[in-house]
Symmetry: C2
Subunit: 312 residues, 2 copies
């Protein structure tokens, strides 16, 4: 099959591109390298076609291939959306429309990686599922949410096929810390800090939790979404249904690296999520998705990786 991956040089994108190449597909990667890294696709660059572009500027005329499917992963980061809400709209809202317009012309199916932060925090101890109440706390959340509506509208109006996944917090090899973009993903930042002997900053008391999904499991989920017969912009949580506190992540990293970190507690982040635990039953039953990596195992891989290549 012929696939376009937006954000193909990014963290999740590059893993997906490698997997698609390995499975024998013809792959085109599109990225503006604002957060993606050229080095991420070193292993497969000769097997793919690449375009350097902002996703909101993609047009059918760029490509001499007709795509069967578009994986839409390109995004402006959540962490900088309050600081630069206009950029978030450019990349996340306009980017989604550009992808849907391309899919309309190509007759391609879209797999869109939305956002699970859309739910905000849960106050009870239960899991969140796809029907939980939406409570966007940043422009990023709101823009991902409206992008899901664009998918629905393009399906109803033009028959554009799409499946939407909402990842839990993805971590793994190639996730970088980008201070310039205010992009400090939890696991990568802690691994970087601990391995480099830097001070670790924990926002608030550190008892806030995340549903952490290893990157290979996330890739598995979005492939299941693309290959399913779901085409009406239906939404699926790709998660583990396991809560891990920020403090617990730090403890794992220190244990695995056999290093003791200097820790400072800062003010809690505005709009931060307190509890994150997402039920993936719908994806399991409808897409056949199931995660297979434990948090400990995933962090172990990342610590080993960080010894070979710096994380930021």
């Amino acid at each position: 099959m012929k696939y376009l991956v937006t954000g193909g040089y990014g963290f999740v994108g590059s893993h997906l591109v490698e997997r698609l190449v390995r499975d024998g597909h013809e792959v085109t990667a599109l990225d503006n390298l604002s957060n993606g890294q050229h080095v991420n696709l070193d292993a497969v660059r000769r097997d793919i076609t690449s375009y350097l572009s902002n996703v909101e500027q993609i047009q059918s005329a760029f490509f001499n291939t007709k795509f069967d499917g578009i994986f839409h992963l390109a995004t402006a980061p959540r962490s900088s959306s309050l600081k630069d809400p206009m950029r978030d709209i450019e990349t996340n809202c306009k980017g989604m429309i550009a992808v849907l317009e391309l899919a309309k012309v190509h007759g391609a199916k879209v797999a869109f990686t939305s956002n699970s932060g859309i739910y905000g925090s849960v106050s009870n101890n239960g899991s969140i599922n796809e029907n939980s109440i939406n409570d966007p706390t940043t422009p990023y959340d709101a823009d991902k949410f409206v992008s899901e509506y664009y998918c629905k509208i393009y399906h109803n109006m033009y028959g554009v096929r799409s499946t939407i996944v909402r990842f839990a917090t993805v971590y793994g090899e190639r996730q970088v810390v980008n201070e310039k973009l205010n992009w400090r993903p939890l696991v990568a930042t802690f691994v970087k800090n601990v391995v480099n002997g830097e001070e670790v900053v924990v926002n608030g008391d550190g008892e806030q939790t995340r549903d952490l999904i290893y990157v290979a499991d996330a890739v598995h989920g979005v492939l299941k979404a693309m290959n399913s017969d779901v085409d009406n912009a239906d939404v699926f949580l790709i998660s583990t249904n396991v809560e891990t506190s920020v403090n617990k992540v730090l403890q794992h990293v220190q244990n695995i690296a056999a290093l003791k970190a200097k820790v400072r507690h800062s003010e809690p982040l505005k709009g931060d999520i307190r509890k994150m635990k997402y039920d993936y039953s719908k994806a399991k039953h409808r897409l056949g998705f199931e995660p297979t990596h434990s948090v400990y195992e995933g962090i172990k891989r990342l610590v080993e990786y960080a010894a070979k290549r710096p994380l930021g």
Copy 2:
């Protein structure tokens, strides 16, 4: 008080500006004149300050006045949003962020005119209220919806005060037909066609209904919203709770103008709303809003107005 009205030269905007001037306020109007008309504020131009700008480009530095309140009416039209979804995002999403950023700096309260089309159609015979399920059928609907979330986010993050109104279908003097923008508001188009002896095109069977609110009632509603103590981006329907079919509107226009129209039925519009009847109880109880003009009375005023000034 000092007020900014975005879209101040537009149909509803100009009525609002006149009313604010009449009530003794200091008014600044901002408009890009894409659909607004310079002539609309002829009566009060010497009493106000005007800026020609796209709303998404407004910045605090423009103004030497500190606003107490911002009425955010500037919008890209629903009718062209499927044809040009990128422009819709520019004006409607970015425009909202620009207004909220300005409000943050000025400490101003925002009254935002959102969209009631967000609800899509109702299949039963009941009224829609603020808690009805959202079903955006065009990018416009989705972009207005996300703008409401921006208001909530800016309130939670920065304490920006706002009240959101969702107008039913507004009609009245100064509403124009703009073929270039694909802007053909129902009542104005029918009045124009009938008065000029043009063919009247009815989409589908004409039995689709609208909740038609006269412009003075809409202005009354948004003023009530601004003057209320609601500041948390809560949403209010400004409507009449009365359904009028497209065919009935045409009948009123013909009766009032004492003219018989040549009618052609076209295909139903994609994404058109079938039934529209909005309950304004919440606005009545919380804001003290109540409409006072009947559809017949409003159309009569518009027919008389059209005799003096062409509608498009």
